[in-house]
């Protein structure tokens, strides 16, 4: 059973990969990310004595934003298109469980995102080295958790794609990404709010949304600060718990969804 599911998930993931690398829009998106990283060289030259910091900040920013944009592009149609083009009949007429279908799609997205991330991260690191920026372990940790955030967004993308239209999917995912990064601020606002309703609402949003700021180690990398092991464990736990929650949610919804 498990062996069959693995073969099926691999086939579906490879199909996602093929669709992506043959999609010109996605290739343009990737090229634009590389251009943005290169553009940070120009931005660096515009500052006085702060080029290293600009190069690093711009690189982190590009990877953060392009991750979200790539997930939006990949995820918005990942289920919808299969239903709309009825290619899902081709898959589900075979002994494929709906969970295997979803996981195959998820792993396909991860392969595509990992490829993009690898190219971007490598180019950025080479750029930093060529400019004599000293790299530290914090850079690698920050990069690992940026990719972790991409994976988390991909799992939420699949969750939204399991029941909404592409437009709503994008709206929810952008909201989740931005509010997730402001999670700590929301908590602080809720603590200081005078209105009981505002307090409850902000606190509820804080608890319902994943704390994406817990995955942010960019400042530590920038200033070569030591990172507490406890923080890393918390970040790993946040990542894993929310990813699993989103995937289980996607499974529960999609397994009950009517496809005709």
């Amino acid at each position: 059973m498990l062996r069959l599911a693995l073969i099926q998930m691999r086939a579906i993931a490879v199909n996602v990969w093929r669709a992506s690398v043959r999609d010109r829009i996605l290739l343009i998106l990737w090229a634009s990310a590389l251009l943005c990283i290169l553009f940070s060289l120009v931005l660096g030259k515009m500052t006085i004595g702060n080029e290293e910091s600009v190069l690093q900040t711009a690189g982190f920013w590009v990877m953060g934003i392009w991750g979200l944009v790539s997930v939006l592009y990949l995820g918005s149609n990942i289920v919808r298109q299969e239903i709309y083009q009825k290619t899902i009949y081709f898959i589900l007429s075979r002994p494929v469980h709906r969970t295997s279908f979803l996981l195959g799609k998820f792993f396909g997205m991860i392969i595509v995102l990992a490829s993009l991330f690898f190219i971007l991260a490598l180019c950025w690191l080479l750029l930093l080295l060529s400019k004599g920026v000293p790299l530290n372990a914090g850079h690698l940790i920050a990069l690992a958790f940026i990719f972790g955030e991409w994976v988390l967004l991909a799992s939420f993308s699949l969750f939204f794609a399991a029941f909404t239209s592409p437009l709503l999917h994008n709206f929810f995912l952008v909201g989740l990404s931005f509010l997730g990064h402001w999670s700590r601020d929301l908590y602080l606002f809720s603590e200081n709010a005078h209105s009981a309703i505002a307090k409850t609402l902000l606190s509820a949003i804080y608890h319902v949304l994943p704390n994406l700021d817990a995955l942010n180690f960019r400042q530590a990398a920038l200033y070569n600060e030591p990172i507490d092991a406890g923080l890393l464990i918390t970040a790993g736990a946040v990542l894993l718990a929310w990813m699993l929650t989103a995937l289980v949610g996607a499974h529960l919804i999609f397994s009950r969804r009517r496809l005709l």
């Binding site: 199909n15 009825k86 295997s100």
Partner: protein, 311 residues
Amino acid sequence: MSEFALEWRSVSFAVPHGFWMRPKTIIDGLDLAVAPGSAVGLVGPNGAGKTTTLKLGAGLIHPGSGRVLINGEPATKSQSRRRLGLLTETQYVYPHLRLKEWLTMAAALSGWKGLPRRKRVEEVLERMELTGQADQAMRTLSKGQTQRAGLAQAFVHEPDILLLDEPMSGLDPFWRFRIQQMLMQYKSSGGTLFFSSHILSDVERISDQVALISDGAIRWKGRLSDMPRRLTGYEVRCRAQNPSVLKKFARNSRVELQPDGACVLSVDPEQKEALLNACAAGHVAIESLRPIRPQIEEVLFEFNLLAKEKD
């Protein structure tokens, strides 16, 4: 092991329709069973529910009520579809994939991997004469090639049961014949075949039994040879010294004189005896006497009307 390879037990299916999403019945208490190793053709007018019946059989959609079983297991259970091949009426292809990649994906989804999968894909490509198109993008295939590709994906995992929705659609006469041969060979090797078609000659040639579907219910099921086709008359070719003698036997007194001097006329069944007596008396020389029965299409149409009247 179940007695039937495929079974629809009192199956009903409806889709939400209109602004208020009211249920519109597509399948209404359908009962049908297909024995292992047999071939059943599903015929019926457009919108009768043929494609929905096939989709229910393939477990793609869940019945509103009743049960659909594959070898005794619910069709919606993924494992029960392991030995099932489906050809949909339209081929739902991924435009970015090449034909070989699509077939490899189809085989992988059925659990095939490694060298056996590669060999099997090459085998079906060769069988469908699509080896030259193996590396071609699926969106560039012609209609006939796409249909053959669809059949290749249905066969690629060596299924025990084949569900085919209009398998001859878009095929030229040569390929229609080839596919007929393949399906008959598949059946003779023990495969179970359930297919829908508008082309009754195909149904007659391939299937052991025919099920007539109309308004989402089976109206009649049986062998085409068992179909009660009443005798409506005889077509007679004969010679007579005086052709006007034949007028009293002919329907509407119409006698067609052929260039070779023979006469062709239609005779009502009750006039047959009198014509034979005239022949025995030497007034008429009968060259051939062919019974006239209604076309299968006409009979099916009558059945359909009768069933509707009963409802």
